[in-house]
Symmetry: C2
Subunit: 335 residues, 2 copies
Amino acid sequence: MSELRRDPVLGRWVIISSERGDRPSDFIAAKPLPKTGFCPFCPGNEDKTPPEIDAVRDSCTEPNKPGWRVRVVSNKYPALSIEGDLNKRARGIYDIMNGIGAHEVFIETPDHDKTISTLEPQNMEQLMWMYRERMIDLENDERFKYILIFRNAGQSAGASLAHPHSQLIATPTVPKRITEELNGAQEYFNFKDRCVFCDMIDEERDYQRRVISENDRFISFAPFASRFPFEMWLVPKHHDPNFADLEDSDISALAQCFQKSLKYLDKALDFPPYNYIIHTIPVNTSRQYTYHWHIEIIPRLTNIAGFEWGTGFYINPVPPEQAVEILRSANGDSQ
Amino acid sequence: MSELRRDPVLGRWVIISSERGDRPSDFIAAKPLPKTGFCPFCPGNEDKTPPEIDAVRDSCTEPNKPGWRVRVVSNKYPALSIEGDLNKRARGIYDIMNGIGAHEVFIETPDHDKTISTLEPQNMEQLMWMYRERMIDLENDERFKYILIFRNAGQSAGASLAHPHSQLIATPTVPKRITEELNGAQEYFNFKDRCVFCDMIDEERDYQRRVISENDRFISFAPFASRFPFEMWLVPKHHDPNFADLEDSDISALAQCFQKSLKYLDKALDFPPYNYIIHTIPVNTSRQYTYHWHIEIIPRLTNIAGFEWGTGFYINPVPPEQAVEILRSANGDSQ
């Protein structure tokens, strides 16, 4: 079983996984994505994954058989294990607990060659719906404090299989970055009596030059202090701390805004590697209503150098206003 | 001039640099390191860099001519500019200041083909001495709050020239990660009345299985909660918050411990890309004596995926105890 170890200076928890290589060379190079050959996520190969946890299916089809639109399974090589207890303890001066958690995979479409920006709109809605359902279900497990949904698109963004998929990891501690965001939003609220994300939405709608996509319910923009070239945030216009509270009636607006943002990116930069991450409030702990859920999309265009690692202080060579200009002009949008 | 922009949620400052590309494709791929051809850092090409700020030189040689052992020049494409004032101001709801700072390059050796682990020991000492001298000098500029020294080794660690070099960036704000470390060390001190780094040194010396190198004055080890495979920290055994207070008499011990650690890494993993970063206290602000300076060495073996970006919560597939076993056995060290 993997371990969770706490950095004694920063309080950051690290998963030390028990997956092991035998030789130093096993750690050196990322394996290239297999382009052809057998794919365990394609229809017909359902028995090559762990059993189905949930799925959106055509009527009258059986679990673990073809006929699904979106399929959720456990990760075959999970970073955290679902069985067991945390057994929080000391090791010398350090703090440690068992690597308990959930690690699931969303197989986003039966079609091996799609990506988010080219999914059928209905399929994208089914995926958003499934994200919400898995969050709601896992919140029932009181060992978990956070449910993280993310997507690694492309090998240099960390993907190890080409078939379109995203992932969920439920963790027994609140990740450090999330705690910082919660604290930041609370401090802003204490000072201004307003939500910082709501203020950002107003500012971006006024300024317009960083806006990528907007509909009745959602807006996406390149954040003012973008860490990375072409970074995008997608934010609900109505204040809501919790992704899992997403209304059925908002799902199609979310899918539309999300897909349009990624279409702009894929068109302008020819399907670059990227990550996206849903940022939402922790579960099974006091709810913080000053937070505002959102999705951060991070294209992986530049190497992160020592300066960034050492400081959390990023150098971004593309001002967000210029990034949006490029996105718009590549997409024939003369807004 | 570049800008410093503050993330309104996290308080993190980002450098938005004014270096611009013209087309989207300019942002997509890192350029490969030139292997051959002209090198502006090689002896004889001193006029191809900005003028020398400082150097360790053979006697009777002139600035900006050959005869140097370590040479410091301004970065030709600086992320921050030395001239001007900060002009802190609002932009809409956001905070911004001018990109004022220093950005210098340490050309570590005249020999294009060396790396830290293969430098002559005397050359390594000259480099450590020069790191200290530049810190002491730049502290006199009251606009600066932090002086960061780091090295990007190898293209995937962010190096853009092959000739051995490291860099210094002086910033007008204290980087977020450093503030967090200062706070973490202070909290630990408040609770235990001891330095967390001093405690770690004792624990690692007792446990031995994570120790990589140790001499009278310094120790290097794989930290208990390593974020990355083969991560190493090098720490002075005597409590000291400030790298710039390094005694002359400690320089050779530092150089020896540092080189041995990197030799182990280069031997075991065949000269992998890595970053190292000197972590020390801020300047021109109240000094925090509960901090303990150290150097973090981060091999760049794995891709950082969405999970890590979203959370600051890392998955490390190589337990530090196993990493040290591999380092030792590759170096014939049966400790």
